[in-house]
C-alpha cells in the first residue's frame, strides 16, 4: 500500500455569516498518496480552489482537520505554514506563477535565495527542463513565452524544491488540447516516476485519462466517480 501524504478529514469551510453564509466545502474527507495523480473535477464555484488552498495550508477549515505526513496542520502558525509550503508543496496555479521581471533561469535562482538546500541537483534540474522542453527558454522572460511554455516553466518551478506534493489549480485552463495531453502526461510521469502526490483541481475533463483517482465535487460536496 502506498504512503498517505495528505488527507482531509470531515473538512467544512464556510464564508460569511447568517444570511450571507456560504458553505464552500461540506464534510469533505479525502486522502492523497505518493505516486498517484488525483483529479478533482467540478464546475465553477463548486469549491475546488477552496479545497486546494486548504490542502496547501493557505487557509484553515471551519471544521475538520488536514493531515500532512500524518501530522495535523490545521492549526499551524503563519510562519510554520509558510515553511511547510516552501519545503513540502509545489503549487501550479492558473496564472501569475512566474515573476515577470525574472528570466526563466532566475525563477529557479529565486528559490535558491530562500531555500538554499534540498532543491533539485543540477542533474535533476537538467532532466526536468529537458522533459518539459524548456532548455532553450532559460534566458527568456515570461512575457516572451507562450501560455503553454509558461505553464511548463511553472511546473518546473513547482518541482524545483523537490516537494512531496504537487497542488495544481486549473493548470490547463490556458492550453489547447495537444498541450493539455502533454501536461497531463507530465503530471502522470511526475507522480509515477518521482513518487509525488499530485492533486489537480479542474473543470477540464481532458485530464481524466492521466489520473489514478477522479473525484467529483459539486456545491462543496464530494463524490468518488471511480
Amino acid at each position: 500500500m502506498r504512503e498517505e501524504k495528505l488527507a482531509l478529514e470531515h473538512v467544512t469551510k464556510q464564508f460569511g455569516q447568517k444570511t450571507n453564509l456560504v458553505t464552500a466545502l461540506e464534510d469533505v474527507s479525502l486522502a492523497f498518496k505518493a505516486g498517484e495523480v488525483s483529479l478533482i473535477i467540478g464546475p465553477s464555484g463548486s469549491g475546488k480552489s477552496t479545497l486546494l488552498t486548504i490542502l496547501g495550508g493557505l487557509q484553515t477549515p471551519t471544521d475538520g482537520s488536514v493531515r500532512l505526513n500524518g501530522h495535523d496542520i490545521s492549526d499551524l502558525s503563519t510562519k510554520e505554514a509558510e515553511k511547510t509550503r516552501l519545503e513540502q508543496i509545489g503549487f501550479v496555479l492558473q496564472a501569475y506563477n512566474l515573476v515577470p521581471y525574472l528570466t526563466v533561469a532566475d525563477q529557479f535562482k529565486l528559490v535558491d535565495q530562500v531555500k538554499p538546500n534540498n532543491n533539485l541537483s543540477q542533474d535533476g534540474f537538467d532532466k526536468i527542463i529537458e522533459t518539459l522542453g524548456i532548455q532553450k527558454l532559460l534566458n527568456k522572460y515570461p512575457g516572451e513565452l507562450s501560455g503553454g511554455q509558461q505553464q511548463r516553466v511553472a511546473i518546473a518551478r513547482a518541482l524545483y524544491t523537490d516537494p512531496a506534493i504537487i497542488l495544481a489549480d486549473e493548470p490547463t485552463a490556458a492550453l489547447d488540447t495537444a498541450r493539455v495531453k502533454e501536461v497531463g502526461q507530465l503530471f502522470a510521469n511526475i507522480a509515477h516516476d518521482e513518487e509525488k502526490a499530485v492533486v489537480i483541481v479542474t473543470h477540464d475533463d481532458r485530464l481524466r485519462e492521466f489520473s489514478d483517482n477522479v473525484y467529483k465535487i459539486v456545491d462543496g460536496k464530494l463524490s468518488n466517480t471511480d
Binding site: 480552489s49 477552496t50 486546494l52 488552498t53 496547501g56 493557505l58 487557509q59 509558510e82 515553511k83 511547510t84 509550503r85 516552501l86 519545503e87 508543496i89 503549487f91 496555479l93 492558473q94 496564472a95 501569475y96 506563477n97 515573476v99 515577470p100 521581471y101 525574472l102 532566475d106 535562482k109 529565486l110 535565495q113 530562500v114 531555500k115 522572460y141 489549480d169 486549473e170
Partner: protein, 350 residues
C-alpha cells in the same frame, strides 16, 4: 536584493522615471542649501572673522549696527582691554564712474579686530585716508593703490590691502580708521562709533544701550533671519515632497505586482524577503538619486557666476542626504505594509 536588482534592470523605464524625479529633487535641495549657505556666509563672514562674543549698541538701533550711534562717553565707559570699538555703516563706494554698495567698518588699529584681521595682500590702514577692501572685490576695478570715494566724505581713500572673509550683510567690507566713520556717515563729533564689541560677554547699566550675543547680532542682520527661514522651509517642503513622491511610486509599483507577490507568498517565500527587497529598492533609488544630484550640484557650482553666492559644505550635504534617505525609507513603509497584508488565497480561485 536579488529581486530588486533584477526588477530595476528589467523595468528600466519605470525605475528611470522615479530615479529622475529623485535626482531632480535632491539636486534642487542641494542647490538650495548651497545658495542658503552662500547667502548666510555672505551675511556673516566678516562678523565670524572677528570672533567676538558680544556687541553693545544703542537700544534704538534694534540690533542693526548701521543704525547705532554711541557717544564718546558711552564708548569710554564700555571700553576695556578686551573690547574694540567699531564704526559700521552701509555706504556707496565710487571709483571712476562706478558705484557699489559696501559696508564701512571703522576700527582702532590698537584693538583686537584690527590686530586679528587677516589680509591676503597689503597692510592695515596706517593713515586716515588708507583703507583695506574685501578680497572678494573685482581687483580690475579696485586695484592696489587706487583711490575711491566713500559715503559722504570728501576724502579720496587709497586701497592699501585686501582682507579675507570680509563680507557683511552680503556687501563687501571697507576697513578703515574709526575716526573716518563719522565723516563717511556724516554725523556730528559727539559720536564715537556704532558698536563696542568684546571677546567676552559685556553687561551694561545704561538704559539706552543693549548687549547682543554673537548669535543675536547675526540674527539681527537685516534680512538674515527671514532668508534663513525661507530657505529652511523650501528645503523642508522638498524633503516632504520627496517622501510623498517615493511613497506614491513605490505604492503603485507594489500594487501592480500584487498578484505575483501573492503567488510568491503562496509558494512560501517569506514576507521578510519581499519586504527587504522593497527596502533595498528604495535605498538604491534614493542613494543613486543623491549621488547623481550631488554630481549635478558640483557641476553647477563650476558653471555658476561668482556673483551668485553658493557655498558647498560637505557636512551639511551629508546631513541633508541622510535626511532624504531616512524620509525615503519611510516611504517604503506603506508598500511594505501592503506586502505584509497580502492574502495568497486572493489569487487562487476564479
Amino acid at each position: 536584493m536579488f529581486l530588486a536588482i533584477r526588477e530595476i534592470k528589467k523595468e528600466k523605464l519605470r525605475y528611470g522615471l522615479i530615479l529622475t524625479v529623485v535626482v531632480l529633487i535632491s539636486y534642487l535641495i542641494f542647490i538650495l542649501s548651497a545658495l542658503a549657505l552662500g547667502l548666510a556666509t555672505a551675511n556673516t563672514a566678516a562678523v565670524d572673522s572677528w570672533q567676538s562674543k558680544s556687541f553693545v549698541m544703542t537700544k534704538d538701533a534694534n540690533g542693526n549696527a548701521g543704525q547705532s550711534l554711541l557717544t564718546t562717553k558711552q564708548v569710554d565707559q564700555l571700553s576695556d582691554d578686551k573690547t574694540a570699538t567699531l564704526g559700521i555703516t552701509p555706504v556707496n563706494m565710487k571709483i571712476g564712474g562706478k558705484r557699489e554698495s559696501a559696508q564701512f567698518v571703522g576700527m582702532n588699529n590698537d584693538e583686537y579686530i584690527a590686530k586679528n584681521l587677516q589680509l591676503t595682500k597689503g597692510h592695515l590702514p596706517k593713515a586716515a585716508n588708507e583703507v583695506v577692501l574685501a578680497d572678494s572685490v573685482d581687483k580690475d576695478i579696485y586695484g592696489m593703490g587706487d583711490k575711491i570715494s566713500i559715503g559722504l566724505s570728501d576724502t579720496k581713500y587709497k586701497i592699501v590691502g585686501y582682507a579675507k572673509n570680509a563680507t557683511y550683510n552680503t556687501a563687501p567690507v571697507i576697513y578703515g580708521a574709526l575716526a573716518q566713520w563719522r565723516v563717511i556717515k556724516g554725523v556730528s563729533d559727539q559720536f564715537q562709533g556704532s558698536v563696542v564689541t568684546s571677546k567676552t560677554s559685556q553687561s551694561v547699566d545704561d538704559k539706552a544701550l543693549k548687549t547682543y550675543s554673537y548669535q543675536a547680532f547675526i540674527n539681527k542682520l537685516p534680512g538674515y533671519t527671514p532668508q534663513k527661514a525661507t530657505f529652511g522651509l523650501m528645503i523642508g517642503f522638498l524633503i516632504v515632497i520627496s517622501l510623498i513622491v517615493i511613497t506614491i511610486f513605490l505604492y503603485i509599483l507594489t500594487v501592480q505586482k500584487l498578484p505575483n507577490l501573492a503567488v510568491l507568498r503562496a509558494q512560501g517565500i517569506p514576507n521578510r524577503f519581499l519586504a527587504q527587497n522593497t527596502l533595498f529598492e528604495t535605498f538604491f533609488i534614493i542613494a543613486t538619486g543623491i549621488v547623481v544630484g550631488a554630481v549635478l550640484s558640483a557641476l553647477t557650482e563650476f558653471g555658476i557666476p561668482d556673483s551668485v553666492p553658493m557655498a558647498f559644505d560637505w557636512g551639511l550635504m551629508g546631513l541633508i542626504a541622510a535626511g532624504l534617505m531616512v524620509t525615503g525609507l519611510l516611504g517604503a513603509i506603506i508598500p511594505i505594509r501592503v506586502i505584509s497584508k497580502i492574502d495568497p488565497v486572493s489569487v487562487i480561485g476564479g
